[in-house]
């Protein structure tokens, strides 16, 4: 058993995917890549107004003054096709990208559909259609014993078409479904052959004598038993949506509106492919040609649409652009979801979902590299640390200080980045005598040191430093550091 998803007017659907309200208005799609751009598709309202194929935009507007011209976009068609494939992958692991807007699914060995009744198949197909509708795509689904029959059912049926009696279905199918050549179609028309059933009644051999090899292709396309191996496709690991505003926007509301739609659709696609979002990259193209791009790392990878959207909206609240926004793009980098066992009786967090959302919003506010649980790095370099996602559920108990008391040192206040300082030092031993800086100024009462450390000398990232703890006459205690670049103040006692 095979199923085929077919999107009628795929090119136009891809172009209007994020503007579904335009389907009720006269819209003509123009292919700008041709030497003379002409109308390649249009909405029913435009057809009612007299717009036809191959008109130039000027001719189309002459026939219908209110017609809206939209340009065909290969990028949007690719994005729409990826959305179809992601949805289809959620319903069957064996899928084929048969043609633009057409995807074939192999339903054999799907446990849910083994010995399925027509009603079960109907429910399954409608779920697939609803999933595609959530992606802004209208599709028809055909289910049949062969890929070709399923495709005929999807293309010529309405909504969902389940083929229970293949021969009866072919009897009523127009010959045009087999896509004969123009010559063959003319001949068959003159013979009075209108349906596939009438064509098959002629017999393969006798028809081949008259039409040649094309007759074999027509019979193969109408076969109720011959299947073909599918060219299996893997869903792309790219989750991307984009939209161009016309006219350019200057406020946040329309941007958030379209982003919400993007996030909902992309999260549904993440769910179909069983992955979660690791990074969300927001790209804004401005009218002045500038591109504002901001990758946002999700602290706890998730596919919760609310969490990701609030993260984006929090970030955008602090964004000010120099010009109006011409287009917006959203790309999600996926990662495999981590499975974790929760405690049986209690958890440390009252509301783990809320916690993830708060983390995401904080990351959007301060930057994903500036929030988390600090971990000291395995290095002798002072203040070497990294931030990892917090995991309070599995945090080890800190029952007491494990560091020997001799190695304990009181905390200081770190300055990040360190403050540049001008230091007068004793030429004989390098001991600092006076410091001039925005934080401390004047002669030093005492300076203790030096403590020299170095590391990574075997790499390009080698470092070497000399530390002094010093107190000014006014009682301010600072940590002075001398490196190749000069003196800095890296910390204060407080």
């Amino acid at each position: 058993m095979f199923a085929v998803v077919s999107l009628p007017q795929f090119v136009l659907q891809a172009a209007l995917r994020h503007e579904p309200e335009l389907w009720k208005k006269p819209v003509a799609l123009v292919d700008p890549t041709r030497n003379t751009p002409t109308v390649c598709d249009f909405t029913p309202a435009a057809a009612d107004a007299g717009v036809t194929l191959h008109l130039t935009p000027t001719q189309a507007m002459a026939r219908c003054g209110s017609v809206m011209i939209r340009h065909r976009s290969p990028a949007r068609e690719t994005a729409a096709m990826e959305a179809v494939i992601h949805c289809a992958y959620g319903f069957s692991p064996h899928i084929e990208a048969t043609a633009p807007g057409v995807v074939t699914l192999d339903l054999r060995a799907l446990s849910r559909l083994i010995d399925a009744t027509t009603e079960t198949l109907m429910v399954w197909a409608n779920e697939l259609r609803h999933a595609l509708r959530d992606q802004g795509l209208q599709a028809s689904v055909g289910v049949g014993p062969t890929p070709n029959l399923a495709r005929h059912a999807a293309r010529w049926g309405s909504g969902v078409e389940i083929i229970n009696a293949p021969r009866a279905f072919l009897d009523g199918l127009p010959v045009a479904a087999l896509e004969p050549s123009a010559d063959a179609a003319t001949i068959l028309d003159k013979w009075g052959i209108r349906t596939v059933g009438e064509l098959l009644a002629l017999g393969q051999e006798s028809l081949a004598d008259r039409l040649g090899l094309e007759a074999l292709a027509l019979f193969s396309a109408a076969s109720t038993s011959v299947t073909r191996p599918l060219h299996l496709a893997q869903p792309a690991e790219r989750f991307e949506e984009s939209f161009e505003f016309d006219p350019a926007i200057e406020t946040l509301e329309p941007l958030l509106f379209i982003l919400r739609r993007f996030v909902d659709q992309l999260c549904a696609r993440l769910e179909f492919t069983a992955v979660v979002a690791e990074t969300v990259c927001l790209r804004l193209q401005l009218e002045n040609g500038q591109v504002v791009e901001r990758p946002l790392r999700v602290p706890q990878p998730t596919r919760e649409a609310d969490t990701l959207f609030r993260m984006l909206s929090t970030h955008l609240e602090s964004v000010r652009t120099e010009a109006a926004i011409l287009s917006v793009g959203l790309t999600i980098s996926p990662i495999q979801a981590q499975q974790r066992q929760f405690g049986l009786f209690e958890t440390v967090l009252r509301d783990p979902q809320q916690f993830q959302e708060t983390l995401a919003r904080l990351a959007a506010l301060v930057g994903s590299d500036r929030i988390g649980t600090p971990v000291r790095e395995d290095s002798h370099r002072p203040d070497a640390f990294k931030l990892i996602p917090p995991d309070f559920e599995n945090a080890p108990p800190a029952s007491g200080r494990k560091t020997p008391s001799l190695l304990e040192s009181p905390a200081i206040r770190r300055l990040r980045p360190p403050a540049l300082a001008a230091v007068n030092s004793d030429p004989s031993n390098g001991q600092p005598l006076a410091v001039r800086c925005s934080l401390a100024d004047g002669k030093l009462k005492v300076a203790i040191g030096p403590w020299r450390t170095s590391g990574n000398w075997w790499e390009n990232t080698g470092w070497s430093r000399e530390e002094w703890d010093a107190a000014t006459l006014r009682g301010k205690v600072v940590r002075l550091v001398r490196q190749e670049a000069g003196w800095t103040i890296e910390g204060l006692v407080d």
Binding site: V366, V375, R401, K402, V477, D494
Partner: protein, 228 residues
């Protein structure tokens, strides 16, 4: 004087006739559950620690006030209790090297670059029901940034604390919190010899002055107490 005497007589009469009705402010306030600070002297001063579900402001005046020691002592105590805290670091000055890995694993550190960013981050954390303790460290933020903070922020946050029972400790260079349940001034004048002492020894040198207390305000708001 005559009016005051009349008021006193009226109160006595009401207490005698209606003993179940609360009259005046002489009734003892409800005991506040407290979060231990990790510094015994400060816990004694605050009668148990930082009051839960309230603001406490630790004002570190001058250089070497000891505010960083308070922050780290609180983190160690929280980690030892198996709890966790969120630190909104207004000037990104937290010293990671002073703590071991197990203690750090109980910390959520938000590294901000300005007071404005810190207040936005704290707002998000206070709206989250998961954090029992939020520390906001504004000690190194410039006074110009702190003076721009609207007083309505504290009023709004107080409503959030009532709902979530979150304890908030704000470390600042001067008094910025209006409506804090407790305000402790810290002026320890730690010198260079501090760097050769253990954290416990340094904690013993900290000097606190209690300027305002939730319980003291109920009994005697004019008194300030010192320790250290």
């Amino acid at each position: 004087m005559q009016a005051a005497d009349n008021i006193l007589k009226l109160r006595q009469l009401l207490e005698a006739r209606l003993p179940h009705v609360r009259v005046g402010w002489r009734e003892a306030p409800p005991a506040l559950e407290a979060v231990p600070s990790g510094i015994p002297a400060l816990d004694v001063l605050l009668e148990g620690g930082f009051p839960r579900g309230e603001f406490t402001e630790v004002v570190g005046t001058g250089d070497g006030s000891g505010s960083a020691q308070v922050l780290h002592a609180l983190l160690r105590r929280v980690a030892a209790d198996g709890q966790f805290l969120a630190l909104v670091d207004g000037a990104d000055s937290f010293d990671v090297q002073a703590e071991d890995r197990d203690t750090l694993s109980h910390l959520l550190w938000v590294r901000c670059t300005s007071a404005d960013e810190a207040f936005k981050a704290a707002d998000l954390l206070l709206r989250d029901r998961n954090f029992p303790l939020v520390v906001m460290d504004l000690k190194l933020n410039p006074a110009t940034q702190l003076r721009k903070v609207s007083a309505s922020v504290w009023y709004r946050w107080a409503r959030l604390l009532e709902q979530n029972q979150t304890t908030v400790v704000i470390i600042s260079p001067f008094s910025v919190v209006s409506g804090a349940a407790c305000r402790v001034e810290l002026d320890s004048r730690l010198g260079i010899e501090t760097l050769s002492q253990s954290p416990a020894e340094v904690a013993g040198r900290l000097r606190f002055t209690l300027q305002r207390s939730a319980t003291a305000a109920a009994t005697d708001s004019g008194e300030t107490r010192r320790t250290g």
